[in-house]
């Protein structure tokens, strides 16, 4: 074998690994979920009918769109989807409003301070996600720290109902996903050529006009990436609404969980997951469509990872 063909073969292997990975850990599970979503629920092990089966001499397909039709017929699902999208959108906006100044401050900090500040953003996620959400229960509960402080200071007479509200869900989502907003924003702000901001000031732009007309448009890639990195996992979020939300907090992640584990209706649950994935593909497609030339490809990579992670849920 000549060295040339060895190199070509090696090249193919190296390039093939990520595709193989995607095929085994993304495409295959997705196809399995898709298959289950086309089956009927039965009381058996596994609890769904076979979609493809060997009937003596030929393959027999018995796919049904019943499950998807059911999602349409019961308003509960539609409300849950819309509610999830709303909660995710509001939480994303809050994370952007909080995260942008943070990222800006970190990017503008002296170089020796910058890595410390970045660490401070990332370090909390080294503790278990679950523990951190439980910690919020301790903070928000009726006799939790926040209420104790408020009543102690005499600001409120009765403890506020903070836990088991939508507010608590927002707090939890914004808190959990803030690093995913800050990091891409930081990357795009840090890469910004500061002489552009100086040029804007020099040409008569006040600091606010300079921000709006130069800095904001030039960090659009980071804003888009950060928003999607928060929005996508937040839409399917299950743990946070379950632990912090009230009985009436209806989010699709919770519905999915109930279908799988309470109702043991795998086909419906799979259909819920497929529809969720389809809904999330819209913003991802928009992102790639409107991605500015030169906007962070690292962010796009992160995004792919997030989308893949979401599909596995």
């Amino acid at each position: 074998m000549s060295t040339g063909s060895t190199a070509a073969w090696l090249r193919r292997v190296v390039l093939g690994v990520p595709y193989l990975w995607l095929a085994v850990f993304f495409l295959l599970p997705f196809l399995i979920v898709l298959k289950i979503s086309l089956a009927e629920a039965i009381i058996a092990m596994p609890p769904y009918s076979a979609v493809v089966e060997w009937a003596g001499d030929r393959l027999r397909f018995t796919a049904t769109l019943e499950n998807f039709a059911f999602l349409l017929s019961d308003r509960l699902y539609g409300i849950a989807y819309l509610n999830s999208l709303r909660v995710a959108a509001v939480a994303t906006f809050c994370a952007l409003v909080i995260g942008y100044p943070m990222a800006y401050a970190i990017a503008r900090a002296p170089a020796e301070l910058r890595s410390v500040l970045l660490m401070l953003v990332v370090v909390p996620s080294w503790t278990s996600f679950l523990i951190r959400v439980y910690a919020w229960i301790g903070l928000l509960a009726g006799n939790g720290h926040i209420n104790n402080l408020l009543t102690g200071l005499g600001l409120v007479a009765e403890p506020l109902q903070l836990l088991r509200t939508d507010f608590a869900v927002y707090v939890g989502i914004v808190y959990t996903y803030l690093p995913f907003m800050v990091l891409p924003l930081y990357t795009s702000i840090a890469r910004l050529d500061w002489s552009l901001a100086e040029a804007a000031l020099d040409l008569g732009a006040t600091p606010w006009q300079c921000f709006r007309r130069v800095i904001l448009p030039l960090t659009r890639g980071g804003i888009l990436a950060g928003c999607l990195l928060v929005f996508i996992p937040a839409t399917g979020e299950f743990v946070i609404p379950e632990l912090l939300g009230g009985a009436d907090t209806l989010m699709i992640g919770k519905v999915l969980w109930q279908e799988f584990f309470n109702n043991r209706d795998w086909p419906i649950a799979s259909a819920v997951a497929i529809v969720l994935l389809t809904l999330l593909l819209v913003p991802i497609a928009l992102f790639y469509r409107y991605q500015m030339p030169g906007s962070s490809s690292a962010a796009a990579g992160l995004l792919g990872a997030a989308a893949g992670g979401e599909a596995r849920r």
Binding site: S195, E198, L201, D202, L203, L218
Partner: protein, 355 residues
């Protein structure tokens, strides 16, 4: 500006600089990197605040004015064109900030792009332009608001050598046509001399010498100024007689004679003081022979380099020191290395340096 100073973390970048510009004048701040010339420029633009001193424009103190309130515009070394805007939008940026009516903005943009011959590139993005084209757009953008003072930070810094030489003349031509007062920063003496009416030579945050290009080149005040502006021969000498009318008689052993030399400044070195005497290589001349009678020095050619317009010779003087001679290329046969030749010194070009 008067007594302007600025330090960064205790390290002074600019100390006590005072400088005046006349209306319509182009002044070059010239100096090696790190001499504080860019910091000085940024203080005039308002992008740095001086620790001490004040900046005046038309008699008005603008020291504490933020950059967006100063009638001063800066052309950045990197041009700093907004990558998300077209050429026309870049030029219009400052005008829109000033809330000029759209028709006026449009007319001014067209006028400015015509000035820099970039009309046909209106709708391009900066990334689609060459370095020279970007520079023109940057110039149009910084002139669009008709600033009272235009600042240029290393205007040729991002261009390659050949383009640089072309653009120096073109840029200076545009600036003179517009009649705008300019302060430009450069580390290239040739650029300063091509473009500026006056050169302010800076060193270690201070002004070393200010004058027209000819003054600074022909009569450098000290060794730094002499060496920074171009090649120079330096010789040790002794003052024989402090003369009247600011002329000293200096004996220069290497050049084998006593020469009358203008005194470097008000404080004249006394009789018997050792001084450094400078002369530019083009003020020395080699001849093949016969010149001894006119006081020429017999020298030996140590080496030569042909550079097209002229030839540079290294010659060994009778005392053993080496000197550089720049001989215009006029078709006469070259002086061969290792052969004797005769050196004449243009005594009027000798200068005593203040050390």
């Amino acid at each position: 500006m008067a007594g302007v100073a600025r330090s960064f973390g205790g390290v002074p970048a600019v100390r006590d600089v005072s400088l005046d510009l006349a209306r319509g004048e182009i002044l070059a701040l010239l100096g090696p990197s790190g001499c504080g010339k860019s910091t000085l420029l940024r203080m005039v633009a308002g992008l740095e605040m001086p620790d001490r001193g004040a900046v005046f424009l038309d008699g008005e103190d603008i020291t504490r004015l933020p950059p967006y309130r100063r009638p001063v515009n800066l052309m950045f070394q990197s041009y700093a064109l907004f990558p998300h805007l077209t050429v026309a939008e870049n030029v219009a940026f400052g005008l829109r900030q000033a809330r000029r009516p759209p028709a006026e903005v449009e007319a001014r943009v067209t006028e400015m792009l015509a000035l820099v011959r970039m009309e046909s590139f209106r709708q391009r993005r900066p990334a689609q332009l060459s370095g020279g084209q970007q520079q023109r757009v940057a110039l149009a953008r910084s002139l669009a608001r008709s600033p009272k003072l235009l600042l240029l930070d290393e205007p040729m810094g991002a261009l390659d050598r050949k383009l640089r030489a072309e653009m120096q003349f073109e840029l200076a031509g545009i600036l003179r046509r517009v009649g705008v007062t300019c302060m430009l920063v450069t580390h290239d003496p040739e650029e300063a001399m091509v473009m500026a009416d006056r050169v302010a030579l800076m060193r270690d945050g201070e002004l070393a010498q200010v004058g027209t290009p000819a003054e600074v080149y022909d009569s450098p005040r000290d060794r730094f100024a002499a060496e920074f502006l171009g090649p120079v021969n330096l010789f040790g000498g002794t003052v024989v007689a402090g003369g009247g009318g600011g002329v000293l008689t200096v004996r220069v052993p290497d050049l084998g004679a006593e020469h009358p030399v203008p005194a470097p400044g008000p404080e004249q070195p006394g009789e018997g003081a050792s001084v450094t005497v400078a002369i530019r290589p083009e003020r020395l001349q080699l001849a093949a022979g016969d010149a001894a009678a006119r006081g020429a020095l017999a020298v030996e050619v140590a080496g030569r380099a042909f550079l097209g317009t002229h030839t540079v010779y290294r010659v060994r003087l009778p005392g053993g020191a080496l000197a550089t001679v720049q001989q215009p290329e006029d078709g006469s046969p070259p002086f061969e290395a290792g052969r004797p030749a005769y050196l004449t010194v243009d005594g009027a070009a000798l200068r005593v340096l203040a050390d």
